[in-house]
Symmetry: C2
Subunit: 340 residues, 2 copies
C-alpha cells in the first residue's frame, strides 16, 4: 500500500475562493453583507478531484493521500481570529467532504485557525472538532502565522505547549507548514516553505521539546528543507550545543517527507536520514506543476524517485506505508478497521 | 593551487571585541567616552592567525584564503549608520593587517557598513576604500541588515542597484552573507545563514537582475543553502515563472561554495551543479568546530570531501583554483603579479 502523506486541496471549486474573497472584502468594507461558506455540490467536488488528485494518484500508483486544505491559502495573517476560524472551518469541512466521497483514496488532515499574537490554545477547538467529530488523522501547524515576519515564539517555546498537550492526548502528529508569504523577500514555495522547514529543525536542536513531550510527532515537509543536505552541519551544531546525538535528541519525533523534486535529492535524503524517518509525499497538486525536461516526467512525481532507489523492498515499504501508519496512528486504526 | 573562498577572522584578539563592546555600551549611555579601535600589535595578530587559520590551512593543505571579518559580528542591526561604519572600518583594517603580514596566505574581502533603512549607496565609500586603497578583492553583502526581520527590499530590487553598479565598475564579486540573528526563531549558523542563501537564490529566479548587470557576480555560501538539494524544485519554479533555464537566467552570475559539512552533501552539490559554478570554501574557523564522530575528522575540513570526489583532476582544479580566479579577477591579477 502506498500512502502519500502530503497532498493539498489546491483544486477546490472556484466558489470556495469566492467565499474567501468576499470574506476579505468585508474586512475592508464592513458594510458588505456577511460572507457564507460556498454551496458546493458533490458533483463539483468530484469533478475537481477526479480530474486532478485522483487522476494523478491512479496514474502514478499511490493508494491513499493524507489530504489537507491548500497550504498557501491558509493565510493566517489575513484579518482577525474570527476571520481565520471561519475560513479554516470552511476549508476543513470541504476536505471532510472529499474524504467522505473517496474514503479509500483520502484521509483528512486539518488546517488550524491560527492568527498572529493569538494564543495557540485558541486553535484546540478546531483540532478537536476535526479529529473527534470528523475523523481527521493529523493537522498542519504554522510556525509563522504572520506570513513571513516570523514574530511568533519558536516552536520549542512554552507558548505552543497547550497545543502539543492536545496533540499528544489525541495522538495526532502535525506537519509543520507555513502558508503564503506577505514578505516580498520570501517567495512562498521557493523560499518561505523551505526556510520554515530548516528553521523548525534547528529550533528542535536548540530546545528540549521532546524531553517534555516524548510522544509528540512532527513531519517536516519538503524533504526537511535544507537539513539533509547539511546533515553534517546539524550534527555538528548539536554537538557544539552539548545536545545528545540527533538520533536521540530529535529524530525519535521528527520525520521528513519525500517532496524533493529530483532523483539526486531523494538519493541524498535516503543516504543520510534513517529510513524510519522518511514518509512518502508528493505535495501534489501545485507547488511545482511542470514536466522536467531532463526526465520527461512531472517534477512532483516523487514516486518515480523513490521507486528508483537502490534499497531493499522492505525499506521502501517503510517509506511508502509503514512509517505513515506509525506516525499517524489514527490512520492506521482506520485502515485496520477496513481490514488493511 | 588551492584557494579557500570563505574564511573569517573569527579569532581576532580580544581587544577588538572590547572596542565593539565599548561602542555598544556608549549607544546605551552616551556619557561614556568615545570608543576607539583597539591598539593591537602585529604579534597579537600573528598569534591569533598562526594558531588558528594558518595552522589549519597548513594542516589541511590549502594555499590561500579569501579572508573577511567575522560574519556573525557584523551585526548591522546594532546602533546607527555611524556605529556600523566605525565598526566596519575597524574590522576591515584588521583584516588588511592580516593580509599584509601573510600576503601569500590570505587575500582580503571586506565587510560593508550597512544599516536597516539606510540607502545602500552609503556603503560604496567603504567598498572603494577597501578595494582601491587597500587591495581587497571582494565584499560580503548582507541581504538582511535587520538581523532576521527581513524588512529590506529583495536583492533584485532597484534599491540595491547603486551598489551593484560600483561592484561592476570595480569588478569585484559579493558573497551574500547575513550576520547574527536577533530574531529568536533563527539560529544564526543553523537557520539564518542557510535561509538567506536559499532566499537570495529564489529572488534571483524571480527577478531579471542579470539582464541589467550581465557581469555582476555573487557567491552564495554554505553550498547554496537548500538550493542544490532542491535543484528540481528551482528548475521547476523557474519554468513555472516563464523564466529561462537556470543555466542562463542565474548560473552565469551565481556561484556556490563547498561549505557543506559531510561527504553526501558535497557529492550532491557536484552531481547537480555545474563544476564551473562551485568554489572551494571551508568557512573556518568557527561555524561548526567539532570532530565528526562518523569520520574522525573535523566537520569543516571540507577539502577532504572535495578530494574524495570521483571527478577528473582538471575538474577539481576548477573548484580549487580556477573558478575563484575567474570570479575574483582582482585576486587573479594579484596572483599573476606574483608569477602564479
Amino acid at each position: 500500500m502506498i500512502i502519500d502523506c502530503h497532498g493539498h486541496y489546491t483544486t477546490a471549486p472556484a466558489a470556495h475562493q469566492a467565499f474567501r474573497d468576499q470574506q476579505i472584502a468585508r474586512l475592508k468594507d464592513p458594510s458588505l453583507p456577511p460572507s457564507r461558506p460556498a454551496k458546493i455540490s458533490d458533483d463539483e467536488i468530484r469533478e475537481s478531484i477526479e480530474t486532478n488528485q485522483l487522476k494523478l494518484q491512479r496514474e502514478r500508483g499511490a493508494d491513499l493521500t493524507l489530504f489537507s486544505p491548500r497550504a498557501s491559502a491558509m493565510a493566517h495573517h489575513v484579518g482577525t481570529e474570527a476571520t481565520s476560524l471561519e475560513w479554516t472551518r470552511a476549508c476543513n469541512d470541504l476536505v471532510k467532504r472529499v474524504v467522505d466521497l473517496y474514503p479509500e483514496n483520502f484521509a483528512a488532515v486539518c488546517q488550524l485557525p491560527q492568527s498572529p499574537g493569538v494564543p495557540i490554545d485558541r486553535s484546540i477547538g478546531e483540532l478537536e472538532r476535526c479529529v473527534l467529530e470528523m475523523g481527521f488523522v493529523g493537522c498542519n501547524l504554522n510556525p509563522d502565522p504572520s506570513g513571513g515576519h516570523w514574530n511568533a515564539p519558536p516552536l520549542v517555546d512554552r507558548h505552543w505547549y497547550p497545543f502539543y498537550e492536545k496533540m499528544v492526548e489525541l495522538d495526532v502528529p502535525a506537519m509543520i507548514h507555513v502558508s503564503a508569504s506577505c514578505n516580498p523577500n520570501f517567495h512562498a514555495t521557493g523560499a518561505h516553505y523551505i526556510n520554515a522547514d530548516t528553521t523548525a529543525f534547528m529550533q528542535f536542536i536548540e530546545g528540549d521539546l521532546f524531553r517534555d513531550f516524548p510522544t509528540l510527532r512532527f513531519v517536516i515537509p519538503h524533504g526537511g528543507g535544507a537539513v539533509p543536505y547539511h546533515w553534517g552541519r546539524y550534527r555538528g551544531l548539536a554537538d557544539m550545543q552539548k545536545r545528545p546525538a540527533l538520533a536521540e535528541h530529535v529524530m525519535r519525533n521528527v520525520f521528513f517527507d519525500t517532496c524533493v523534486y529530483h532523483q539526486p535529492g531523494i538519493d541524498l535524503l535516503v543516504r543520510v536520514i534513517d529510513v524510519g524517518n522518511i514518509l512518502f509525499g508528493s505535495e501534489m497538486v501545485g507547488a511545482v506543476r511542470g514536466i522536467d525536461p531532463e526526465t520527461g516526467h512531472y517534477f512532483d512525481d516523487t514516486k518515480r524517485y523513490v521507486d528508483a532507489l537502490d534499497i531493499p523492498a522492505g525499506e521502501k515499504r517503510r517509506i511508502y506505508e509503514l512509517n505513515a501508519r506509525r506516525v499517524y496512528p489514527r490512520l492506521d486504526a482506520a485502515l485496520k478497521r477496513r481490514g488493511m
